[in-house]
Symmetry: C2
Subunit: 223 residues, 2 copies
């Protein structure tokens, strides 16, 4: 999310609603294609329609929902081609951040990245899927931050959120945890050694495999 929006501790109702609705979409309470009724959401949250409308407009710009004039809003439902595009875009953004991170991470950031990575090795070995998943988000966020470029980092994160609804449970694929961790290893090594091109390549490889995993998962579910 472009955080030129209110980040303070004085959020407006619209802002709180926007994050609440976004949460609902991300955790699956609201699924792709589902209709977002203004009056319903308003009553559900105990507010009037006005802040709901503003929140919806905000979410529409982030791509999480679709609004068509006079036809209402729905949770974004993408065609397989659009989902593919989102994954490709995310891979490119992650790779770009990794490349920049390899060039401009501070020594402290590099050490912290390595520490994170090593703690994830243990989680993967123990098969702690949920903890690994959380740590994974933090790992990637650390790389975004290491790029030292707010616009790119924000966009990378917004893409990650946006593909979220389409890749639930991906980590439950057999052996995905360990392979993910091996791929991280290549990324971390490249970043730590300042190998920009290598970091880019390793990250593209990693995220592309995640995409493959998603497609396999989608295929299973469709069957």
């Amino acid at each position: 999310m472009q955080t030129r929006m209110s980040t303070d501790t004085n959020p407006t109702l619209s802002d709180k609603l926007a994050t609440a609705i976004a949460d609902g979409i991300l955790n699956g309470t609201l699924s792709p294609g589902e209709r977002l009724d203004e009056a319903g959401l308003a009553e559900q949250h105990g507010v009037s329609r006005t802040p709901v409308r503003e929140a919806l407009r905000q979410l529409a710009m982030s791509g999480l929902i679709d609004m068509r004039p006079r036809k209402g809003a729905i949770v974004s439902k993408a065609t397989p081609e659009e989902i593919e595009s989102l994954f490709v875009a995310m891979a490119e953004m992650e790779a770009t951040c990794a490349r920049l991170a390899a060039m401009s991470m501070t020594p402290i950031e590099r050490r912290r990245l390595q520490a994170r990575h090593e703690s994830m090795i243990a989680l993967a070995a123990a098969g702690e899927t949920e903890a690994y998943s959380d740590a994974n988000v933090a790992f990637h966020s650390a790389i975004y931050a290491g790029a030292h470029n707010a616009p790119l980092a924000e966009y990378a994160m917004s893409l990650r959120r946006r593909v979220g609804p389409f890749r639930r449970a991906q980590f439950r694929m057999d052996g995905r945890l360990l392979r993910s961790n091996q791929e991280h290893d290549a990324v971390v090594r490249a970043i730590l050694s300042g190998d920009a091109a290598g970091a880019h390549a390793a990250m593209i490889h990693h995220v592309s495999l995640v995409e493959d995993a998603f497609e396999a998962f989608a295929a299973i579910n469709a069957a």
Copy 2:
């Protein structure tokens, strides 16, 4: 702009206001730091505050304006560091699109890109600054489109818009037109020959020079 928003021919008042205000920012009528008074804008456009507020929220998400809860909205005013970040981000996005374009442009798209480029050579030679500037936008847009990835293309375009207010008149720098054209030549050659890495490098080089030109320009104006 993430065009999950209404693109139809049935735009809502809020949408029309959003583009109107955005135009004002892009063409300099509204300058960075300027306050955006809701009541004022409403009266000025002959509407109530409600659609104005929705438009502002939309623009805030695009990064063109800043909103702080209960403090109103202003045209985004960036520090030199933030402007630098925007230029770097734009360079990375353009380069990424160029790389993807080198890999996936169709023969027709390649021919059209070359045609565009050649017509720009004439404009540069004739010193037609304004026509060149328009053609330049079209040239870069063609490359975004050639990447065949809607999210990346949209983000690249939104970044281009976002830096717009900070780089007015850049092309009037001495000799900028001809050099820009030479850099385009390298980009086009790499794309046409399918040289992904080369296209990336050439585009980064090109856009970075634009940034340098901007900084030189800003330095002159500050003096």
